[in-house]
Homo-oligomer: 564 residues x 2
């Protein structure tokens, strides 16, 4: 039986991506199955790289920019090293949708020429490669967002003049700051999934444990960054899509409040749904890399170029105030945190529990107050998010899958055959959401009575998911991440440790999988072994500067705790 037409197109596209990898960077031997080699990060991928490439690609964005903005490393050298490593990454875990290394190297040459001429960088990101989730439009590059029906079109529209000419606002800003763009990373078609799978590139695996998912929907970013095929990338988050892949790949990831990073000109699912906005944010191996690119983007004054961005420049004063609170460690007016192990829905797996305990221990060792976080019902937040995701009854998804006739992956959390809501019902939903946000805010304020610092908690710690990087098709509850989007709070993923089958054992009284609705107990110590474990630090709306400062501090102190 012949393949349907869409398979021919998706096969061709998949092959075209591979063909964009220069011959010299192609793997000549087959990649061993995950049952033989689970982890392809670190020494595995490094065997294909030379010492200088390793030095460059294992530096973080801050260190790289320190060298590329001062002429110590040429932009071309750095770009080539990341292109090479990204090419390897894609061949190992299938994490790229678009490869445009030639254009990147041309851009890098121009940057080097600029530097040679002016003895100064173009901007703070001069010569820094930045990867982008395949929602961003880049001139001369396709955007499929994982839809077969988008191949050779502009967002599914054939013969649209914007095809190949459009550039997203953030892309323009990154270029103006000196960044080099070289690849776009894989996503689940629809973006509405905690795994990354589509009919073009297939499944993006977790590089640390190839039995598991890289997460989603910014899953390609997560996998590429875990393999150090990129120093920093941008993803999007409407239910956890930055924080999940960050957490599943031992990365930091920032989900900012809406209105800080420009979404202007970026492709999206269910665009125009404005009850709960998707937001863009960075992922990187170090917290300071997030701060660096976030601050750099704000320096371009995006509020004059995207009508939904707020005129809110980077606030050093908020950083200073946070640092003062950190300094006060052990003082009764120092930092206070909430901590939540259970959202009332899904019990967390042993590795996540251990990670949470480690963070709690670390904060207490530092003399900060830690109180139990017992907020308004997260089940309510979960319901609100689900209703909003399904608001259009699947019209958008149906349309985009329908362009090619391709199938929808089972991991997508939105149905194609829902009921489309009407204006008055949407208004009621918006009110319910606002009332929930108010209730949560009042709860937050009420913790001033409990912290002993005279203030409410400065932030709170909770899991990102019930499990570490998940077994395919076992991601059943996104409520640990989606409630943050309902509240529009900033949240930073903080990597903590790795699942360890010898210590993270299933307790005797653990509930059986799927016995109760939303109970998440299909824990398998052996399969999860080695998977990254992370938590998230959640802050008050628009306090990105405070959360980034705290995330860097807490991350460093966790590392210290682990060395004890």
């Amino acid at each position: 039986m012949a393949d349907p037409t869409w398979r021919i197109r998706s096969d061709a596209k998949r092959q075209a991506i591979l063909d964009a990898i220069p011959q010299k960077w192609r793997l000549t031997e087959p990649v061993p199955p995950p049952t033989e080699v689970r982890d392809v990060t670190g020494s595995y991928i490094c065997k294909y790289l030379d010492a200088q490439e390793i030095e460059i690609t294992e530096s973080d964005a801050v260190d790289i920019a320190a060298k590329t903005t001062t002429g110590q490393w040429s932009a071309v050298k750095v770009t080539e090293a990341f292109c090479h490593r990204a090419a390897l990454a894609h061949q190992l875990v299938s994490c790229l949708h678009e490869i445009f290394f030639d254009a990147a190297i041309e851009d890098a040459k121009k940057l080097d020429q600029y530097f040679a001429e002016h003895k100064a960088p173009i901007g703070p990101l001069h010569g820094l490669p930045v990867s982008l989730k395949d929602q961003f439009h880049v001139k001369g590059v396709e955007t499929t967002m994982g839809y077969v029906g988008w191949i050779n079109t502009f967002q599914g529209i054939p013969n649209d003049p914007r095809r190949g000419t459009e550039e997203s606002e953030l892309v323009r800003e990154l270029r103006s700051l000196g960044a080099v763009l070289y690849c776009k990373t894989s996503v689940p078609a629809t973006l509405m999934s905690g795994e990354t799978v589509n009919n073009i590139i297939g499944y993006t695996w977790n590089p640390k444990n190839r039995l598991l998912s890289c997460g989603g929907s910014s899953g390609g970013e997560g996998a590429l960054l875990a393999l150090r095929g990129s120093p920093v990338g941008f993803g999007s988050d409407i239910g956890g899509s930055i924080r999940i892949p960050a957490g599943f790949n031992f990365l930091y990831g920032l989900r900012p409040s809406s209105g800080r990073i420009p979404y202007q000109g970026v492709a999206n699912s269910m665009d125009g749904q404005n009850s709960l906005l998707s937001v863009l944010g960075p992922l990187a191996p170090t917290a300071r890399s997030l701060t660096f690119v976030f601050k750099s983007v704000l320096s371009t004054e995006p509020w004059f170029h995207d009508p939904l961005v707020l005129e809110l420049p980077w606030r050093d004063v908020m950083v200073d105030q946070t640092r003062e609170l950190i300094q006060k460690s052990k003082d009764s007016t120092s930092l206070a945190f909430g901590i939540m192990y259970y959202d009332g829905f899904a019990r967390i797996h042993p590795p996540i529990h251990r990670g949470m305990k480690l963070v709690e221990q670390t904060l207490k060792r530092l003399g900060h107050t830690v109180i139990p976080w017992t907020p308004p019902s997260h089940a309510k937040a979960h319901d609100l998010a689900s209703e909003i995701y399904g608001m259009d009854g699947g019209v958008d998804l149906r349309h985009h899958f329908g362009l090619s006739g391709e199938e929808q992956a089972p991991q997508v959390i939105v149905d194609q055959d829902g009921v489309e809501m009407k204006a008055s019902a949407i208004a009621q939903l918006n009110i319910a959401k606002r009332e929930y946000q108010k209730e949560y805010m009042d709860y937050w304020n009420s913790t001033a009575q409990l912290t002993g610092t005279g203030r409410p908690v400065d932030g709170f710690i909770c899991p990102i998911a019930p499990h570490a990087a998940v077994i395919p098709q076992q991601y059943r509850h996104v409520g640990y991440s989606s409630f943050v989007d309902v509240l529009d709070y900033p949240s930073v993923t903080i990597p903590v440790t790795h699942a360890n089958k010898s210590v993270d054992v299933r307790p005797a009284n653990a509930p059986a999988a799927s016995l109760e609705p939303h109970v998440e107990w299909d824990y398998d110590a052996d399969t999860y072994d080695g998977a990254p474990v992370a938590v998230q630090l959640v802050g008050r709306r628009l306090q990105e500067e405070k959360m980034l400062t705290l995330a860097e501090y807490i991350g460093e102190e966790i590392a210290r705790e682990l060395k004890k």
Copy 2:
């Protein structure tokens, strides 16, 4: 034929409002018809007041607070003076929905006791009376919003525990700042009208010319403030509802961007519609009064109490930067403004044209650059706003009118029998609105090429309506105000002059009324004689500090220009 039940209820409510006025403050003689006495402001209303009451009520909010926060005037004395004048105002033009003078005087007594005890005020608004549009909930006071069906209920819900106990967040904040609340002002039922008319209090007339409307929907505020029955009040704006009554009553009025003043807990029409948000803002006879109360409200950190408010404290730095630009007057890098006389829809009447010319002249005399403002189609903005206002097909209006069976006034710009939009159509509308906002933003940026200052314009000047305070039922085009809400820009109404039948004559070539769609040419020099003329100063999103600073400066300079 007997009146339907709702008339009995509305009559009783109207009478109850009048009955709340103490006997000593009731007018004993009938008010002469407007054909005899058009203007009941100034000397007309003052004949019922003693010298001290006049001194107090003709001071602005800043001067009043300077005396009440230092013990020079007692809160009781000030409150009584405004209660008296508000009582007169209501009897002259029917501008109040709720009168709670007794509670206000009790509150004022407590403030005086506090001051006597602490030798310090409770807050910056200590002892300052503040009037509120009848959307705000105040403990112990009803909210009808002009709906007969809301009498004896909470927002139309009978036996709701919130009835009489609820207080809006802004009300709480005003109290915490020391403000005294004493009355709520009239609105058109639905709030969707540029005139103020409902089946409870009837029609609110313009105190300066009682042949004309006071504007709407914050019309009661406009009328009360014009009569100095209040030093400052709060209204709301989704299509011009603060700026129209401000302009029609020779007042300053601020429509801030959404997210600065808390709407939490305030009744609304079509609540939950979040494609275009209604916003709250102050109206007052002086620009500095707006700044004073706006800044005071921000000092309460409303972002910790309303989830939709942005953490954006009052920015003195933006005020200072603006003042520096003002100082540079005559310098090529000083201020630059756009000016727009015609929106492509409705030609403005002669008084408005003269007012606009006066402002242009003033700016040029001061050495500032003035360029023609030729933005993207305002017809498009008008269409977007209309589609959004009608999004629910009238479900909300039908419900609230249906509670009593009362009739909808012809001035309401939303139909009860429209078609309710579905989620996917709303999403498309949201996209169209965002694209329009982007197009307008790009146009604004492009003026950097034209100003000669090296920057785009600092703001632009345009009419608020084609006409001065309007002849009843002749308000045909709200596009001059509603485009600002579509863009979510801050805008300040600046009063300029008054219509004058001897100079503002109908030009020979003026189009006849209603010959073309949207042409607004039913100008009648005699009827409009004496009506206030105003313009609006529109700024970039969230630049309220800059616009308030400029409005104060421009207003003062216009006064100087008129004295020449």
